[in-house]
Amino acid sequence: MSPAVPDKETVDIIREMGGGTLKICYQCGTCTGTCPWNLVRTFLPRRMMHRAQLGLIDFGDKDIWTCATCGACAVRCPRGVEMIDVIRAMRKVIAEMGVAKVPDSLRVSVKNISYVGNPQGEPEKERGSWAQDLGVKPFAPGTELLYYTCCIPAFDAKVRRIARATVGILNKVGIDYGVLGAKERCCGESVRKSGNETIFQELAKGNIQAFAESGVKRVVVNSPHCYHTFKKEYPELGAEFEVIHLSQLLDQLIREGKLKFSKEIKKKVIYHDPCYLGRHNEIYDEPRRVLQAIPGVQLMEFQSSRKSSVCCGGGGGRVWMETPKEERFCDLRLKEAIDAGADVLAVACPYCMLMFDDSLLSIGKESTIEIKDISELVLEAL
């Protein structure tokens, strides 16, 4: 075997594409030891960083698409290497420069988003149809709050229940809100994480313009992914609106006495921290406070929670990719919830819901535990 020769050009490209912190990695392997993939298979992010440092990345390696960008490694990294940025840079090299193949299912989803603004490939004009029978107003100038519906609740027949529960609460509380329907498109968070920077920029600019034209000042979202990009990425592109996650809004309404419960939910509820709400944005307490405020709810915790929460596997574009049945660490999480004796697994993210719903079907435990968004639980108790 001949010794490998470092390829400086590749290193430079990865760094230019946003993987600048790559160089400071000192190869301790904390990322490997932390990564949830190692619960189900062997995946060595440390080695990927090493190869990237040397420019010896095989861009055809399927593992470039493995990372769910959950951030578990990055929060523990002793050197502050932004692993997600490095992986995103490598994906960018593939997606934007065409040096290797993008996984088919991801390619199709991103193409759909690019054409019709949603990954499912549904007609744009149908974006608001989930709300048809609910008396939801279109957003008009002067409306206080925009409810921005993530593509998953807007179009996925099962996850739609999150959107319906959310407006159910907003209607009951009497908040002045509206929706944009066909005027809004995918937020682009996962599009960006899967390397499609150009498409992300188009989506973001389109949404920023649409929000501005409609006079949107404040937005509430269900998805921590929408929250993340609105909060941390859109402002750099000129966005000036305020974003709040539904759990924060509910927590605020409960504290102000504007949201009062009238029914009991006598159930053991275990809360799963979504990566993009918890680790990426450090919102840990609000969803817990909301659940605890519901009369009768007994709140439980996973062994690994908050900062150490284990990902559902749906971030970073993984939600659109196939994961072999035996490699779904989401299943392990669900089994832990069942073993702990929980009646309900509470989520605060449409991706988590999609992933856990799938797991529930595949392990065949539909009669043992329910998957519910916090909005559903709150609405039930109103």
Binding site: Y26, C28, G33, T42, P78, R79
Partner: protein
């Protein structure tokens, strides 16, 4: 608070801290002929060195060196030692410092012969902080068998006081005075040596490694007490959860060190500390499996020999990989470590009966800075002396014992120069 007679010693040196660096500075300066006032917060001298089992690389007992230093103090009238004493305030400038020292009550006077009768009759127990709470002492206790000064001390926080007073009647030497109260001492000195030392990084902040949550995860400083003959287990290395002899043990290097989330710097001694502790384990139980998980082994200079010696011990494995996570098997209380063997490119999930976290050093100047113009770095270490105030040992940088001795000598020389220079000029 009463006052004791003030000290006026413009050519004298105040040494703050009675650990290895401070002891050395005090003795060296006194042996040159300068008056020295050594102020130590705890009831004994020797600091963290006194609590270690062995020095590296020679593997001799710390009391060997400490005893010599204690004798040098005893035979030198130029040194005045104050234990249970805290510097409260410093004003003035080089050559003319006004210092206020609070003398906390020992409740035991100089008549004490350390016979131990007081502890025998004492009714109250307290967690033994000297042994990191692994055992208990009575409220009347001796910190350790080699303590200097060799006098009992009564913990005022838990002592029942005059209503109990069993110790007072048990003592044949009228050594116990439960009426003692804190006193204030004022002194004028010419220069100051700051040697307040360090504390281990708070391992409970390493929430992925389970210290404080799992009983069999301990730290390197606790391991020193477990291995010490005068420690809580009389030197037997056993598991805190069940007292069982340990058949497999892992050392986790850089537990919080070289980590921007904790201590960004390397403490420089923890690698050698763990290699040394491997020999404790192997000497007691040659068949015990020992693994050291490291990022880089920092055994500098001649210490390389020691590394090679330990590497050669059968059943000692060095694994290049930082431990990312520790979980407990609730049934066995064993610990499951997750890491990557980065040399082999393999993930590791391995079980051990006990885990030692090699935590780094935090200078006490992070929490307690002294008044004056000392310059501190981002981590709280003293980066530069001020005129008249000289830092020594681990308040300057993380150091091993022998470097602390050299550093104490450096500070003594600087403090003397400060006094002599002014004498020549003025």
């Amino acid at each position: 608070m009463g006052n004791v007679e003030s000290i006026n010693s413009p050519n004298g040196i105040l040494v703050i801290g009675g650990g290895m660096s401070g002891l050395t500075a005090a003795i060296e300066a006194a042996e040159v002929g300068y008056g020295v006032f050594l102020v130590e917060e705890s009831p004994y001298l020797g600091g963290r060195v006194a609590r270690a089992n062995k020095y590296f690389p020679k593997l001799c007992a710390p009391y060997c060196g400490l005893e010599i230093n204690f004798r040098r103090i005893k035979t030198n009238p130029k040194i005045k030692v104050f234990t249970l004493a805290q510097v409260e305030n410093i004003t003035g400038k080089e050559g003319d410092y006004d210092v206020t020292v609070k003398l906390n009550p020992r409740l035991v006077n100089d008549n004490c012969t350390a016979c131990g009768k007081c502890a025998e009759v004492c009714l109250v127990e307290r967690p033994n902080d000297y042994n990191f709470g692994l055992d208990k002492t009575k409220a009347a206790y001796l910190t350790n068998l080699m303590a200097f000064p060799l006098k009992y001390v009564i913990d005022t926080k838990v002592c029942l006081g005059a209503e109990c007073a069993k110790c007072v009647s048990a003592c044949q030497y009228q050594a116990i005075d439960l009426g003692m109260s804190a006193e204030s001492l004022h002194m004028k000195v010419g220069s100051i040596v700051l040697a307040t030392g360090w504390k281990p990084y708070d391992a409970t902040r390493l929430d992925n490694l389970g210290y404080g949550k799992y009983p069999n995860v301990i730290t390197n400083v606790i391991m020193e007490r477990l291995a010490a003959a005068d420690g809580p287990t009389q030197g037997k290395i056993v598991r805190p959860s069940d007292g069982k002899e340990v058949k497999s043990i892992a050392f986790v290097q850089c537990a919080g060190s070289r980590d921007q989330n904790h201590l960004p710097y390397c403490s420089g001694v923890c690698c050698m500390g763990s290699l040394k502790q491997c020999t404790y384990v192997k000497d007691q139980s040659p068949e015990t499996k020992v693994s050291i998980f490291y990022i880089d082994v920092r055994a500098l200079g001649l210490l390389e020999d020691f590394l090679q010696r330990v590497q050669g011990i059968e059943g000692v494995t060095l694994v290049r990989g930082k431990v990312a996570k520790i979980e407990e098997d609730p049934a066995t209380k064993n610990l499951i470590l997750q890491a990557e063997d980065t040399a082999a490119g393999e993930k590791i999930k391995e079980s051990f009966e006990m885990v030692v976290l090699a935590t780094g050093m935090v200078p006490n100047t992070v929490e307690a800075k002294i008044p004056g113009n000392l310059v501190y770095d981002n981590y709280g270490f003293v980066a530069a002396d001020a005129a008249g105030v000289y830092a020594a040992g681990c308040v300057r940088r993380p150091t091993d014992v022998s470097t602390s001795v050299q550093d104490g000598t450096r500070a003594a020389l600087k403090a003397i120069q400060s006094i002599v220079r002014r004498g020549a000029n003025g």
